[in-house]
């Protein structure tokens, strides 16, 4: 699946990106982790507090750093 991290480059956004990568590795299989830096693109998701986590185009959380397990749970709940 496609995991997107929306963030304009604050420290928290980088942390969430690392967490998402770890979660993707934990779940296994092929996943794409993309960091979205462009503000205009971020606005497109209707999100205003960064970092936000988007899985397959659906906003799952905004404004906070998640734990690896939380991201894994989001990824699994989809299937």
């Amino acid at each position: 699946m496609k995991i997107e991290i929306l963030g304009t480059g604050c420290a928290k956004c980088k942390t969430l990106e690392a967490v998402a990568k770890e979660a993707a590795a934990k779940v296994g299989g092929f996943h794409q982790v993309v960091k979205v830096d462009d503000v205009v693109q971020i606005m497109g998701y209707g999100v205003m507090s960064t970092p936000a986590l988007v899985i397959d185009g659906v906003v799952k959380s905004s404004g906070k750093v998640l734990s690896v397990d939380e991201v894994v749970a989001f990824m699994n709940s989809k299937n």
């Binding site: 503000v39 606005m43 999100v47 205003m48 507090s49 960064t50 799952k60 905004s62 404004g63």
Partner: protein
């Protein structure tokens, strides 16, 4: 509430460490130990409560709420939302553009942008801890006033939009609320982690602030403070405001200092103006906003807020 700790910390300093009572060293040490622990306890409790409440609000919800509100009532609402919405300087840009997307007038957005950092949880917790309910309420009330009037005034200015550097396409129709469901346990956990993050970030500043405060408390005579920081010389307020601008990240360390200074004769209006300048006129926020706003607009923003704070400072020195 902290009498027991006053006694106990006194026992530690004077009996256990054997520092002489009523010496400058003893007074300073006692003050430092008493104050840091008291501040830490209250700080954690207040930040936890505030961040727990805030899990029920987010900027996305606020945007839906503010959409289509008329100018004056919109300014008032935006200023109040600034208190209860979690806000971090790093999301100032998406917030600004997101509000524009929803066709919320620039003046209303600025009301929010003035109120949110002014009423940040660290400032509120520190104020409450050090100065009590009355001063905290005054600070919040006056902050709201500046946010409402300042935002309204900016909304009345002509052609402000030309200073916004990124074109924003307005969303057609009604906005959808991005709904993220959380259990109470989850909220409590989030608030706990958030409080922990903040504590780790600020505890050294608090200790440094109280440490310098303790030094002043024990060693610097009141006359000296009154002569330089206090007094009723006309220039103390603007000087205090100017000094507050570069100190944003150190709000936690600055406030214990202000407590000691007011104790020693600094006027309360000057102190309030200084604290407001520390939180509301944040240099880092200005640097971030520079990426989407013309310097002229940021200058107008700072000038209006700065002017409001100075006015509040004078008002208080006159009536308190």
């Amino acid at each position: 509430m902290f009498d027991w700790w006053q006694e106990l910390s006194g026992f530690f300093v004077f009996e256990l460490f054997g520092v002489q009572k009523e010496s400058a060293m003893g007074e300073a040490l006692h003050f430092f130990l008493y104050d840091t622990i008291k501040i830490f306890i209250l700080l954690i409790a207040i930040i936890f409560m505030v961040s727990f409440l805030r899990t029920y609000f987010n900027t996305e919800k606020v945007r839906v709420y503010l959409q289509g509100k008329s100018e004056f009532s919109g300014n008032i609402l935006a200023a109040f939302f600034g208190i209860i919405t979690p806000f971090c300087t790093c999301s100032a840009i998406p917030l600004f553009l997101g509000f524009m997307q929803a066709r919320i007038p620039v003046g209303i957005t600025f009301s929010f942008l003035i109120s949110a950092p002014l009423n940040n949880e660290i400032a509120i917790a520190m104020l409450f801890t050090l100065f009590g309910v009355k001063i905290t309420a005054l600070y919040i009330g006056l902050g709201l006033f500046i946010a409402i009037v300042g935002g309204y005034a900016m909304g009345k200015m002509k052609n402000l939009e030309q200073y916004i550097l990124i074109p924003v396409k307005p969303i057609e129709g009604e906005l959808e609320d991005v709904e993220i469901k959380l259990s109470i346990k989850q909220r409590a956990k989030d608030a706990m982690e958030y409080s922990k993050d903040i504590f780790v970030k600020i505890y050294l500043y608090v200790m440094a602030g109280v440490g310098i405060g303790a030094f002043i408390h024990g060693y610097v005579p009141s006359d000296f403070i009154a002569a330089y920081a206090g007094g009723d010389a006309w220039y103390t307020v603007p000087v205090a405001v100017a000094m507050g601008i570069p100190m944003y990240s150190n709000a936690a360390g600055v406030m214990p200092l202000v407590e000691v200074l007011t104790d020693k004769g600094m006027l309360l209006g000057t102190a309030l103006a200084f604290m407001m300048a520390v939180t509301a006129l944040s240099l880092p926020e200005a640097m971030i906003l520079k990426r989407i706003l013309h310097t002229k607009l940021i200058a107008i923003f700072f000038a209006i807020v700065g002017f409001g704070i100075v006015a509040v400072g004078y008002l208080f020195n006159a009536i308190l």
